[in-house]
Symmetry: C2
Amino acid sequence: MTKTKKEKKPVILITNDDGIMSPGIRQLIKLMRILGDVVVVAPDKPQSAMGHAITIATPLRLQQINIDGRHIEYSCSGTPVDCVKLAVDKILFKKPDMLVSGINHGSNSSINVIYSGTMSAALEGAIENIPSIGFSILDYSFEADFTPCEKQILTIARNVLQNGLPKGTCLNVNIPKIEKIKGIKICRQAIAYWDDEYYERKDPHHKSYYWLTGEFINNDKGKDTDEWALKNGYISVVPVLYDFTAHHAIPYLKNIEE
Amino acid sequence: MTKTKKEKKPVILITNDDGIMSPGIRQLIKLMRILGDVVVVAPDKPQSAMGHAITIATPLRLQQINIDGRHIEYSCSGTPVDCVKLAVDKILFKKPDMLVSGINHGSNSSINVIYSGTMSAALEGAIENIPSIGFSILDYSFEADFTPCEKQILTIARNVLQNGLPKGTCLNVNIPKIEKIKGIKICRQAIAYWDDEYYERKDPHHKSYYWLTGEFINNDKGKDTDEWALKNGYISVVPVLYDFTAHHAIPYLKNIEE
């Protein structure tokens, strides 16, 4: 049997929240080109901690750019979620076969998922019924070494392309900063939080301003959590859902009804 | 028996995403003053659709303002989530007894919860273990009539002050725009979405810019949903959780592990 027709490659939409020129997204583009036809629509500037923000009171700009000439690439003036929405409606004119976001410079494990622009882009993909993955590495450095995790990123992405994901979910993938990765663990989000502390400074006019700082507190000792996996040398994969209903809490609240 | 000591009133933190001068928050302040000692920390400008964004790359400003002189009030340069974090760390120096956010001008039912600054403030409260409620009315007008729902807002807030909320949850309360409210229903979030359409315009330099528009699509016919309750004249109350793990999906993904 001879193949007479070239097999159609899957279309993979790539975005992030660190901005289109960050090393993390460059690495993800390189890897995804092995699996499919890549279209990049990413913020023109850093958009970290933007959560699920969208731009409604101002219009958006798109700028086609040409970095290596081998795939379509646009920088967008909006948030990561804006990038996904605009890419589907005005660049692809259809849903891509997969959406990947990242690789974020810094952890999006545990409670960080809620603040993360990287993961909000993936969640927006899930809302739009696109199999979606957010990738993050526990290394803020723009010189982060991505080589130890290349194989696993491809394994996860290939699996999602092949099998899809359970309805209403996307994947939150976090990668430890180590040379030898032990494996991949499917986890739940550790129930942890940030103990915030604002540093107060005075401007030259003696008025106060405040910088957010904080300490990450994890009292969740579960070995099924993303924090446990990451501390023990594994890549953590948490399925994340956009139905925020606390279904288990509904019966306890019936006394409010009238 | 005579009461010799004045009973200590609960401390209620109020914020929103429409900005500190919007009628919705003024109404909420008026009602919460019936139940406790009110502290207001709200954005100095509209912050709608900001999701769970926080400000990390720039510092924040706080400005004490005096609107009616009967309670503490600050405007903040940040997002709704920033307001909650800053209020707890730098104004209250402790957790309040309850956090209420809103009353938002416009619906935060169904999938809107994920984009909503109002609800992100309430979720941030839940993360910080504060019993928290987001209120929204299905009326964008700044002349919205809040009188039909005053009684129910007090009922829900009193209940939460008295009984607290299940761990890890807050309430998403949406109020229909009608004169006679039928009652209060505890609901799940309807599984609906926005069908986005960007309108393209040309600037005077012939460059394109894009405005987000969209149609809300609800194919979820469940009578236990917030959309059903609102369409049938009830206030919808959805318990919302900040553990985004799709626990039911974990077994289906075990084949990715290695």
